[in-house]
C-alpha cells in the first residue's frame, strides 16, 4: 500500500531529532522501509516499468502523473520518498540496560557538542605540535591558504542536525570561533579532512544567464529575440537595429493595440532606461492575459532581447532595475469559507 506522507521545508522545521527521546522506534522505521520498497515495486508494476531499475525520479514522475495537484507549494503535493528522508534522524537511547550511559559526557547534558569541542581542540593541539616540530627542524611552514571565499561554515540548524542535539547561539559561536582559529594556523592542511566536514560550498551567486549573440537577417540588419510573460500573457519580441522606434504588435501599430498611455509607457521603459528610444524597431506577438499583462509581457520580452545589444554592465543595471525579472504575481486562489481570496464574508453578530 502506498502511504502519502507530507513534510515541511528544511529551513523552517523544528529539529525533531534533537527534541526528545525516540518517537519512532527502530523496528517501526525498518517496517516503513520494507513497506516503501514493496510500494515501489507495486508502483513500477502499475506504470508498466521494470521494478528492479525504478529510481526515485521515476517514482516522483509516477506520483505526479497519478495524483495531479494544482497546489502551489511543491511540498504540499503528494509525494513518496524513502523513510530515511521522511522521518528525521532520531537519537538512539543513550544508556544501556543497567541504566549506565554509553558516552562519558552524558551528564553534561550536551554530550555530542562537548565531545565535538574536545575533538576539535585535540586537532588544534595536534596542529600546534606539528608546527613546533617543523620550527624545531627549521623547515619552512606550508603556506597554502585555503580558499575561504567559496565556502561557508555550517549554519546552526545544520550543526544541530549533525549532532542531533539542541544548541544555543553562544555554543554555536564558540564552536565557529574555534574552527576559525584552527584554520588560521599555517599548518592546518593536515586536518583538512576534518575541517571539510564542517564547511560547505557556496553556490555561484549570479546564475550565469547566457546572453545570445546578435543574429543578422538578409539585409544585414542585426536583430535579437526575447520572450516574456506576465500573469497569463506570453509574448515574443524581435528587436531590430537601425530603426526609427516603430513598434508593431500582432500586426497592428502600437497606438491601435494599446490606446491607453500606461501600456505604452510600459513598453517605453526598457528603451528609455538604455537611452535607445529611437534607435530600434520592434515586432512582437502576444497572446493571453489582459491589457496590462500583455504590456508587461512585451516589456520583459523586449528587455531580454535588448541584452544582446548592450554591454554587461548595462545588463547588470537592467537586472537591478527589475527589467529582467519575471513578475511572480498571479491571481490568488479563492478559499472556501471566504468570499474572495482575502475578503471574508460579512460578519453578522447574530
Amino acid at each position: 500500500t502506498l502511504r502519502l506522507i507530507c513534510t515541511t521545508t528544511v529551513v523552517q522545521r523544528k529539529n525533531v531529532g534533537a527534541s526528545g527521546p525516540e518517537k519512532y522506534t527502530e523496528a517501526f522505521i525498518k517496517k516503513q522501509i520494507e513497506e516503501f520498497n514493496l510500494g515501489k515495486r507495486h508502483l513500477a508494476n502499475m506504470m508498466g516499468e521494470d521494478p528492479e531499475t525504478f529510481t526515485q525520479e521515476d517514482i516522483d514522475r509516477a506520483i505526479a502523473y497519478l495524483f495531479p495537484s494544482g497546489l502551489f507549494d511543491k511540498q504540499a503535493r503528494p509525494m513518496m520518498k524513502h523513510p530515511t528522508e521522511v522521518f528525521p534522524e532520531q537519537r538512539k537511547i543513550q544508556w544501556g540496560e543497567d541504566g549506565r550511559p554509553f558516552h562519558f559526557l552524558f551528564y553534561t547534558g550536551k554530550q555530542s557538542y562537548y565531545s565535538l569541542m574536545h575533538e576539535t581542540y585535540e586537532k588544534f593541539l595536534n596542529v600546534q605540535k606539528h608546527q613546533d616540530q617543523l620550527i624545531a627542524q627549521d623547515l619552512p611552514l606550508q603556506k597554502e591558504k585555503r580558499n575561504l571565499a567559496g565556502s561557508r561554515w555550517l549554519t546552526k540548524i545544520e550543526l544541530e542536525e549533525m549532532l542531533l542535539e539542541k544548541l544555543s547561539d553562544d555554543d554555536y559561536s564558540r564552536f565557529i570561533q574555534l574552527l576559525e582559529k584552527l584554520v588560521a594556523l599555517p599548518c592546518a592542511d593536515i586536518e583538512e579532512n576534518y575541517i571539510q566536514k564542517f564547511s560547505k560550498e557556496v553556490p555561484v551567486q549570479l546564475q550565469k544567464v547566457v546572453i545570445e549573440p546578435l543574429q543578422y537577417d538578409e539585409q544585414g540588419v542585426a536583430f535579437s529575440t526575447g520572450e516574456g510573460k506576465r500573469k497569463t500573457a506570453r509574448a515574443t519580441a524581435v528587436v531590430y537595429d537601425n530603426g526609427t522606434g516603430k513598434i508593431t504588435v500582432n500586426g497592428t501599430d502600437v497606438l491601435h493595440y494599446f490606446p491607453v498611455l500606461q501600456d505604452r509607457e510600459q513598453l517605453l521603459f526598457p528603451f528609455q532606461f538604455l537611452g535607445r528610444i529611437g534607435k530600434h524597431d520592434m515586432v512582437c506577438t502576444v497572446s493571453g492575459g489582459g491589457r496590462s499583462a500583455q504590456a508587461g509581457a512585451i516589456r520583459l520580452a523586449s528587455a531580454k532581447a535588448l541584452r544582446s545589444f548592450v554591454t554587461e554592465k548595462e545588463v547588470e543595471f537592467m537586472r537591478q532595475a527589475g527589467l529582467l525579472t519575471v513578475d511572480p504575481r498571479v491571481k490568488e486562489r479563492k478559499k472556501p469559507g471566504q468570499e474572495g481570496s482575502r475578503r471574508k464574508f460579512t460578519w453578522k453578530k447574530r
Binding site: G245, V254, R264, E265
Partner: protein, 382 residues
C-alpha cells in the same frame, strides 16, 4: 524671411536648444518652424512642416463654428492661431488652384485615422478659399444634425420630412458672420412663401432669407434649403465661386439616433437639412468645389477602427459620392513633429524640465506615435 529653406532648418536646429529670448537673435530660431506667410495662397512645399498664423479677427470671421474644440482652447491660451502646413493640404490647394471652374464641381474626401488632422486640413482649405474670395459653405460637423436633437418638427414644405429648427438657426447665424458680403450682393431668383403671411420676393438680397430663418425659427430649415439652392444656382451661373466644406460627411448616409414621437427611427433622408445638403453634394453644378472629411469620432454605429471611405460611408454614401478624389492624412512626419514640438517649447507649453531634453523629445514621439491628437493630449499636463 520666407525663403529660408531647409538648410536653415538644420543649421539653426543646433541653436534651438537655448531658450529663445525676446531680442533680435530670437527671430532666427522662430523662423525655423514658423513662417510669416499668412496667406495660404502662397504656401508651397517650402513651407511644409511650418506653422503659419491667422490673425485673430480673421479667425472670428472665417471660422465662427469650424475649428475643433481643442484648437479653440489652444487659440485662447496662446492668443494666436497657428496652423501647420502639411502635405495633404498643399495637395488640395494645388488641385483647387488648377481646377477648371467650368467643369462640374470636383469632390474631395479627406480621410485618415483618428486624430491625424483631417479637420485642420479642412480649415486650412477653407481659409484659403475665403482669402481668395470664394463663398464658403462650411458645415462644421454633420453629426450634430443626426444626433442629440431635442426638437423635431414636421416640415411644412414636405409632409414626410422632419425639421430641426435649433440646429438650422445656429448654422444660419454662423453662416451670416462668415459671408456677410455675399448675402448683401446676391439676389434671390424666385419667390418663396414661408407661411400664410410671410414671403420673400424675387430679387431680394439673400440676407433677407437668412433673417427670415433666424426670426422665424420654425422655418429655419426651409430657409437653409432655400439658401443652398440659391447659392448653387448662382455659382452654376458663374457669378461667384462656391466651396462646400462638410466635416464628418459620413453622417449623412449612416443612421441617426433620433426617433419620432412614436419611437420609430428616423433615417437621414427624412431630415430636411440632410436632404438639402445631399443635394448640394451631388456634382451637378459647376463653379466650385466640394471638400469633405470623414470622421469616426462622432459617427454612429461604426467600429472605432474604421477609417477608410468605404467603411465609414457605407455602400449608399460611397455610391452617392463616387467619383471623388481621396486625400489621405497621416501622422506627423519627423519634420512636422519637430515643428510642433518646437512650437510647444517656444510658447512654454511644456513646463517639465525633462521635456526640454532630446530624450524627452524622443519619449514624446514614442508615446504619441507621432499622432497629432495624442501629442496634444500628452503635452497638456506637462
Amino acid at each position: 524671411q520666407l525663403d529660408r529653406g531647409c538648410a536653415l532648418h538644420t543649421a539653426a536646429r543646433a541653436g534651438l536648444s537655448s531658450v529663445p529670448t525676446r531680442d533680435v537673435p530670437a527671430e532666427r530660431p522662430r523662423a525655423v518652424f514658423h513662417t510669416s506667410e499668412s496667406d495660404p495662397a502662397k504656401h508651397t512645399e517650402q513651407h511644409e512642416g511650418r506653422l503659419y498664423s491667422i490673425p485673430l479677427e480673421e479667425v472670428k470671421a472665417v471660422f465662427p463654428h469650424g475649428l475643433p474644440h481643442r484648437f479653440q482652447q489652444q487659440i485662447q491660451t496662446f492668443h494666436e492661431a497657428r496652423v501647420m502646413v502639411r502635405r495633404p493640404a498643399l495637395e488640395l490647394l494645388a488641385y483647387l488652384r488648377s481646377s477648371n471652374l467650368a467643369h462640374p464641381a470636383v469632390r474631395y474626401v479627406i480621410y485618415g485615422e483618428r486624430g491625424t488632422g483631417k479637420t485642420m486640413t479642412l480649415c486650412h482649405v477653407v481659409h484659403y478659399c475665403w482669402r481668395q474670395g470664394w463663398l464658403v459653405l462650411h458645415v462644421p460637423d454633420a453629426h450634430l444634425w443626426v444626433k442629440n436633437c431635442k426638437e423635431l418638427l414636421q416640415s411644412s414644405y414636405n409632409k414626410d420630412r422632419l425639421d430641426q429648427p435649433l440646429q438650422a438657426s445656429v448654422w444660419l447665424k454662423n453662416f451670416k458672420t462668415s459671408n456677410e458680403r455675399f448675402l448683401r450682393e446676391m439676389k434671390t431668383q424666385k419667390k418663396y412663401t414661408w407661411g400664410k403671411r410671410e414671403s420673400t420676393e424675387e430679387g431680394r438680397p439673400l440676407g433677407e432669407v437668412v433673417e427670415q430663418g433666424l426670426a422665424r425659427v420654425r422655418s429655419a430649415s426651409d430657409a437653409v434649403g432655400v439658401l443652398l439652392r440659391e447659392v448653387r444656382l448662382q455659382s452654376h451661373r458663374g457669378s461667384c465661386r462656391l466651396l462646400v466644406a462638410v466635416d464628418s460627411v459620413n453622417a449623412l448616409w449612416g443612421q441617426t439616433t433620433l426617433r419620432r414621437e412614436d419611437k420609430s427611427p428616423v433615417s437621414p433622408e427624412e431630415l430636411t437639412l440632410v436632404h438639402n445638403l445631399r443635394k448640394m453634394l451631388r456634382n451637378d453644378w459647376s463653379g466650385g468645389a466640394i471638400v469633405t472629411t470623414l470622421s469616426q469620432t462622432g459617427s454612429l454605429f461604426k467600429p472605432s477602427s474604421a477609417y477608410t471611405p468605404h467603411e465609414l460611408l457605407g455602400k449608399e454614401g460611397f455610391d452617392a459620392l463616387d467619383p471623388f478624389v481621396p486625400i489621405p492624412v497621416g501622422n506627423y512626419s519627423a519634420k512636422e513633429f519637430e515643428s510642433c514640438y518646437g512650437y510647444y517649447l517656444e510658447r512654454k507649453w511644456l513646463q517639465h524640465e525633462k521635456a526640454h531634453t532630446e530624450d524627452g523629445k524622443a519619449e514624446l514621439q514614442f508615446l504619441s506615435g507621432s499622432n497629432p491628437r495624442q501629442l496634444d493630449r500628452l503635452a497638456g499636463p506637462l
